[in-house]
Amino acid sequence: MIEIEGVTKIFGVGAEAFTALDDVSVTIDANEFFTLLGPSGCGKTTLLRVIAGFIDPTRGRVTLDGNNLLNQPPYARPVNTVFQSYALFPHMTVAQNIAFGLEMLGKPGSEVTSTVDEMLALVRMTEMADRKTSQISGGQQQRVALARALAPRPKVLLLDEPLSALDFKLRKDMQLELKRLQSETGITFIFVTHDQDEALTMSNRIAVMNEGRIRQIGGPRDIYDHPAERFVADFIGDTNFLDVELLKVEGEQAHIRLPSGSEVVARAAQGGGRTGGEVTVAIRPEHARMDEAEGALFQGALSNVVYVGTDTHYHIDLDSGGQFIVRQQNQPDQRHERQVGERVGVNFGAGIGQILKD
């Protein structure tokens, strides 16, 4: 279990000081696939490097199973990293790369050999053992980097955007591969990415970061369906934002009045939030339904119809101003084609809309 408490990192001094991490606290369980998700410059890599030991935080505590990590140099921490550039040693073979950590730990030769063989098999690189790292493909280098970091059996594996250099197809394969390795080895993975698909596909939990702060922590479904604030809703997936009037809050249920005058039940903001007045509600495009204008929650005119294979995106200019997008899955027997300019209505069920904190 990794406990991060109030970690702050300020680079530079005076007017040029830049706060990369701002009072970050999070507890990561053993055997968890934990993802730090955020745009570039949000501090996710800085946090990873603090855990690895390449950066000393300005303030805060980091402990692993109760032991203080911060007073140990990187080579004493039972933590290994898969670098974004892989950082494989070019003067060594694949097998020598994987053996490096074990040799530095002073493991006996027989154990090194057997662990290297095991790791080669784990990442399916046994045939490539004697190749130089410059003689294998990007995806293979990726797997060697992974095997090299896993070989010393660290308690925690840190992965710094390891898939960003791979092409789409390979990335999809590696996502599943990483998930498999994590469950097979039982090692805690801390995974850094700016790619929401990666985060949603692989993680047990996700911490969404922005401007040096963790904005929301939760499971993939939780984060996607119930974003706590506008940044999270905006960063992950597509979202419609509606300014509405909050009538009253009963537990999780928030009664709101839409600009069209219709009243509906949405999900209350997480951790309190306002109990009345103007609030923003977020609705995922695929969670809303496009219907006939008559009797719908609110109405508008269809301004654009975008066909994207699996789905069709309907862009609707609302009567109350602003735009709303509805995404509907295409059916093979779809009879009725909507025309641009047509008047349509939008409906969504109770508890679908999510009230945002700010």
Binding site: Y75, N80, F83, P90, H91, F100, G101, M104, S134, A149
Partner: protein
Amino acid sequence: MTDLSAARNRRDRNTRWLLLTPAMLVLLFAASGPLLIVLVYSFLTPGDYGGVEWQFSLQAWTNVLAERDIFTDEWQLADAHLTVLWRSIKLSFMTAVLAFIFGFPTAYFIATRPPRQRDIYMLLIMIPFWTNLLIRTFAIMELIRNQGTVNTLLIAMGVIDEPIQMLFTEFSLLLGMTYVYLPLMILPIYASMERFDFSLVEAGYDLYATRLQVLRKIIFPLVKPGVVAGSILVFVPCLGAYVTPRVLGGGKQLMLGNLIELQFGQLRNWPLGAALSLTLLVIVMIALLFYVRAVGREGETNV
């Protein structure tokens, strides 16, 4: 299509050879020509007042390593030449080692600075290199001579009573040559280190290697071509060094360059001078061969 591109390739190749012509001409007349003359002279008989007599002789070559005893008329090893030869190789080797000891940390320091600072440091390294060799050598002489800066200071501070004899010793030669040729060690090591990916150092630390292990197992193997190149660049000119041993050795600590100069000058034995020059060339070739082999092996692995 293939014919066309093949023809263009051939034309390209021809033009490239044409571009080489000026350099080839210079090399032919300024390097190969004199070398050939030196080779021919080494097989001739010395003239009475310098120059050569056009009479074939192996005398010069035998004299490189052996000499006839004036009294007993027996062949024996030419001690004087061997001493100078040995001193040249020893001092050149030690200079290369010293330059490495000072140059490697310097290059590492510069390569780990932010890019803009690196250029300033490199400029600082290069400035003395652009200063006249003789002036720099005399500056060192001024520092270490018996009434020089160092001795005067030490005596004034009461550390020593008598000045330490530093000038005209092997120490003064080592000091002078290390100082003069240090940039030639720093430059190639720095060039290797600049291309070195420092995330490999982090990877090393991450995989439980200590600082020393990272240096030995990751940094050093990858910058080794630079180290070998630097060592050769220092070793080779040291072998033929003339000015530094002349000024700082004071005629006592002769090196090969001085010995050769003696043959062409005061001793008026051009063929022996020529033979000694070629001996120097052979030693340099052996050193270069070593370099090609060492780098050739590493070259495959290093990007």
